[in-house]
Symmetry: C2
Amino acid sequence: MIKELKNLTPKDVNFSQWYNDIIINADLAENSDIRGCMIVKPYGYAIWEKIQKKLDSILKKAGYLNVYFPLFIPKSFLSKEADHIKGFSKECAIVTHYRLKNSTKGIVIDPDAKLKEELIVRPTSETIIWNTYKKWIQSYRDLPILMNQWANVIRWEMRPRLFLRTTEFLWQEGHTAHATKKEALQETLKVLNIYTNFVEKYMAIPVIKGIKTQNERFAGALDTYCIEALMQDGKALQMGTSHFLGQNFAKAFNVQFFNQKGIKEYVWATSWGVSSRLIGALVMTHSDNNGLILPPKLAPQQVVIVPIIEKNKKNLIFLNEKITNIIDDLKKSGISVKYDNSENKKPGWKFAKYELKGVPIRLTFGMNDLKNGTIEVARRDTLTKKMISINCITNYVKILLKDIQKDIFQKALNYHLTNTTYVNTYDEFKNNIKNGGFIMAHWDGTSKTEKQIKEETKATIRCIPLYEDLTCGKDLITGMTSKRRVVFAKTY
Amino acid sequence: MIKELKNLTPKDVNFSQWYNDIIINADLAENSDIRGCMIVKPYGYAIWEKIQKKLDSILKKAGYLNVYFPLFIPKSFLSKEADHIKGFSKECAIVTHYRLKNSTKGIVIDPDAKLKEELIVRPTSETIIWNTYKKWIQSYRDLPILMNQWANVIRWEMRPRLFLRTTEFLWQEGHTAHATKKEALQETLKVLNIYTNFVEKYMAIPVIKGIKTQNERFAGALDTYCIEALMQDGKALQMGTSHFLGQNFAKAFNVQFFNQKGIKEYVWATSWGVSSRLIGALVMTHSDNNGLILPPKLAPQQVVIVPIIEKNKKNLIFLNEKITNIIDDLKKSGISVKYDNSENKKPGWKFAKYELKGVPIRLTFGMNDLKNGTIEVARRDTLTKKMISINCITNYVKILLKDIQKDIFQKALNYHLTNTTYVNTYDEFKNNIKNGGFIMAHWDGTSKTEKQIKEETKATIRCIPLYEDLTCGKDLITGMTSKRRVVFAKTY
């Protein structure tokens, strides 16, 4: 099912097409016949499983318990929090009936099986969960509640793009309940830091941590914290969000608790999530014109071994034998290895295939190597090769995997820094935004200016960064005083 | 959130209520406000994760690749295979619109956002998958395809019961494509054996492997293989199914391939699944009037340690110190341990709580034990206790976990065998079926007789067993010759 490499559009020619070509050609996913819904293929799903497994173990260690809430949300639940329904009403899949029947016109909806109340396929689970927390929370002793679920969600998407924006996507959503505002705020930031560490250490993608403006907030949140990364086309991608929901959902669902003084209070809430969009970020951050580049920590296969089989195939038996030990050794060190000794494809084809698939290290091994006690090691990220003594190969690979993980992060960080510009006038801003990148500029804090800039340049405020130094300045347009720079960028 | 034990209805008084009481009181799950949909709570979900993790690794080793297909299936896809739509049309959740809007009547469906074609929330994924396989399969070289997905599915349920029958449930569904009938048949049986091994070795539940009668077949299958287990109320529960689909779906979706001779043929198919219903089976097979009994291999916590804290609490520091080493040792041996040194509950309350939750082994440890170098070990399955020298405790626990796993299987097997009756007349049949159990009887192979027996006794043919010896006999009702006994039982 692997396609030939020749179909890959060069990145500089058409970034968007290059992105799609990699996803299709590296067999990560494909569009389905249901508009906006994708099919995640085995290789793409294996990357998602890697992400899931690692993040799940981090969340579990931090005390979050996994749970599963229903797929369906009654319309009345979704409508209870005013901002929430406003934000999600335009992208809801609505279930209205529960039975089909045979008729002279073929299979049709059975009109007798109309639901009394429509059900919405969850776009997110705050409402169904807070409707339940109401039953679980009476006293401060029941708090905090720290829960997480891995689930599919539906947000009807008019302009779908594989992994980045799909009608159905896979994600985790955390939902916590707290006795105090302070604790809920700390929780929001704690998770933001978990996401930051995960994305930087495992995905090798540097991010800016920040807080969203009112326009860009999650529907129903008092504050939305986010991490934003810069893709290779100079556009920003939101990687994850952590919402401080205040008492909005507690009030909407009347969730109160008796505090230590015996007084009734509304519960404080957070919610947070990352999704299968992260796979899109991996593609757009690291990859090149030869295909995917995967960080070793998330690569389904970290090493591929390609033997150089001679025409008469007689040497394969010797190569197989020698390689068995190497494979065992690598596996014992916890490294995932694929040995591709298939005879129907030439080494060059295999090289191209595993480059396309982003396997971090390729080992090549022929009769000369057998004689010389060497093995050729190729790095996917730099496409460089080196001859290594066969006796040190496991150790070398172990260190090299760490180096690659570090180096691709550093490369992405260099790009991120090189493409972050500080501007002080609107002309500078307009000149720079054409080339993409993060633009750090002063903003007067009004939606009006934010909207004007968006209309005139298509750039939006990605976030008000948390770690930006607080140097005063003047708004680009109005000249009003600004206490800090914010991050502008174009996005998808 | 733990309820008191006193609410548990005794098993013999009302089995169905006992079952529900355990699920609610052990905090496995609860009903949601969406009829038929349940909330799987952290403890129940932890068991599901254990099942999932183990079965997933078995399936991966056997060569199945995980994948993810869309939640929505166009009505026309579902309708393509005649038997399939007949079987599922009565339990479909149907999405008809994709947007809500604000109106004077509140939040309503936006009539302008009506779908051209209704989407069905997947009750199972054969149709969407075979619609895709059509694009993936051209030649025999593309075969076999061996895929599996972990997903949620919806089958509208009029009489829901927690875990056993819910409108939404979690499952895995495998879908394979083959070049020959023989290979597809072998695949069907291979998976049946995987399920049998998993259920017997990990869940400690003995099963009968068999084949369904035409009436009980999966909608769209040529043959449905199944494993059936006997619950403690004498009713049978279907634990998993593996379907030989023949060329039905290949024909419905026109999936053909060129065989090695260059001739076009339709592809052969199988599909198979087990679901979160397995958790219901765990409850109904092993548990008792004190609560859950979990097989050690699937228990989220295998050992709980309860210190006997003296009134002044001064001894806790000594106990904590000594126990740290024991916990470390147990964890090093791969055993999951919970140490409950909370001070607000008495040991007796804790004992009852962990019995309710089915933790296989409880260790109790007080000042006397500290002096004597002993620790009290209690088995959840037999409720027996023993004093063990603290120096051998890790080893003792390791062996005991294995023993418990073996013993509860043996206990379930004894029940299974004791409640399997061979009858030769319809009177015997009617007398025996009142008490439940599996009844092995001769059947003439006709749907007519099968239906008559069902109407008169509520018993159905669970399966035609694969390992039953082929002794001829006469049908209970018609007296027609029968080549083998089949398994009758009542079910849920």
